[in-house]
């Protein structure tokens, strides 16, 4: 088994599963297993690992999205949004004209999302569809916004995923991505490395009895392209007005881009 710890500098994560070098055909299956395995404890673990910060990061994404409060139509596609975190927040923030489709490859995560959407009384505004982010089953030029939160580093081909995002967005549509990124604050990177590699897998083992899945999560974070490299990838499929801003010293970054 080969181990590569460098950040991915190509258009895809297809040759890596965390730090392990793998064949691209293996990857989706391995990633699916991770999310089936962690779905029950996913939110609890997110709170535990991030000290609750993931809630603030998701709120920041909703600020960027800024769904209209009016009753005018605003259609959101939330990719890798299985548990409904982003879609439910967006519906609460936006007016009655806001609708969302939660799209995810994991049926276990979608199952959680379905119950949450129903409990929030949002079933008439939120639909759920299961599928792969690299092959969207939606018509061209349909959505006003495409969101993907902590999802894109788990896809096999980032470039295919971005091309599909571009295709389904209307001209004038907004692409917003929240993802773990490269820490830019001196010293914080050392602390963060310690937390990631020494503490998170242990928390995963202790709280969810699952060392391997959480080890994958931290390794995949470290493999994901840097802020600038990811901006280049977004630009390469045709998006314009690309910007990003770092949250919590670059532990996560929000990338924003528009289909003009």
């Amino acid at each position: 088994m080969t181990i590569t710890k460098d950040r991915t500098n190509t258009a895809g994560m297809q040759n890596s599963f965390g730090f392990r070098d793998i064949h691209p055909n293996e990857r989706q299956h391995l990633v699916n297993n991770v999310f089936s395995s962690v779905s029950d404890s996913y939110d609890f673990m997110n709170d535990l690992m991030s000290g609750g910060l993931h809630r603030l990061w998701k709120d920041s994404l909703i600020c960027q999205l800024n769904p209209p409060k009016s009753s005018s139509q605003f259609k959101i596609l939330d990719v890798a949004g299985g548990t409904g975190d982003i879609a439910i927040r967006a519906m609460k923030q936006g007016g009655k004209g806001c609708t969302a489709i939660i799209y995810d490859i994991s049926s276990e995560m979608l199952d959680i999302g379905r119950h949450r959407v129903s409990s929030a009384g949002l079933s008439d505004r939120v639909d759920l569809v299961e599928g792969n982010a690299e092959r969207l089953p939606f018509q061209d030029c349909h959505f006003d916004a495409y969101t993907i939160s902590f999802g894109i580093r788990n896809v096999t081909r980032i470039d295919h995923t971005l091309q599909e995002a571009y295709r389904v967005l209307k001209p004038g549509g907004h692409f917003i991505c929240l993802e773990f990124s490269k820490v830019t604050v001196p010293m914080l990177d050392y602390l963060y490395d310690f937390h990631s590699f020494k503490i998170i897998p242990r928390l995963g083992q202790w709280a969810a009895n699952d060392w391997t899945s959480y080890r994958y999560l931290v390794e995949s974070i470290r493999k994901f392209p840097t802020q600038d490299r990811f901006s280049d990838l977004i630009s390469s499929v045709g998006f314009e007005q690309i910007s990003h801003y770092n949250l919590t010293g670059g532990i996560v970054a929000i990338h924003s881009a528009w289909r003009i």
């Binding site: 049926s107 379905r114 639909d127 759920l128 569809v129 299961e130 599928g131 092959r135 089953p137």
Partner: protein, 84 residues
């Protein structure tokens, strides 16, 4: 060719009821109209009896489970002569 056959669908109602085990879930007609085949991007035909979305171009049928369309190749069924 199967893909050339025109198959009229009822458009008279905006929601289509699907009976699932233990629950009833309405699939919104607007969602069905928006969905396309993930592989060929061609239109899908809804088969209410089997709770499936059929892609004649890809020759695949995708299941709808508990009201959620499963539009992944791995979940699909290859169409046979009996489907035509």
């Amino acid at each position: 060719m199967a893909s050339d056959v025109i198959r009229p669908q009822s458009k008279s109602c905006c929601a289509v009821s699907i009976e699932c085990v233990g629950q009833k879930k309405a699939i919104d007609r607007h969602l069905l109209d928006l969905l396309v085949c993930p592989i060929t991007k061609s239109s899908l035909e809804y088969n209410a009896d089997r709770s499936e979305l059929i892609s004649w171009h890809a020759q695949l049928a995708f299941p709808i489970v508990d009201g959620i369309p499963l539009l992944v190749r791995e979940a699909s069924r290859v169409l046979t002569d009996n489907d035509i």
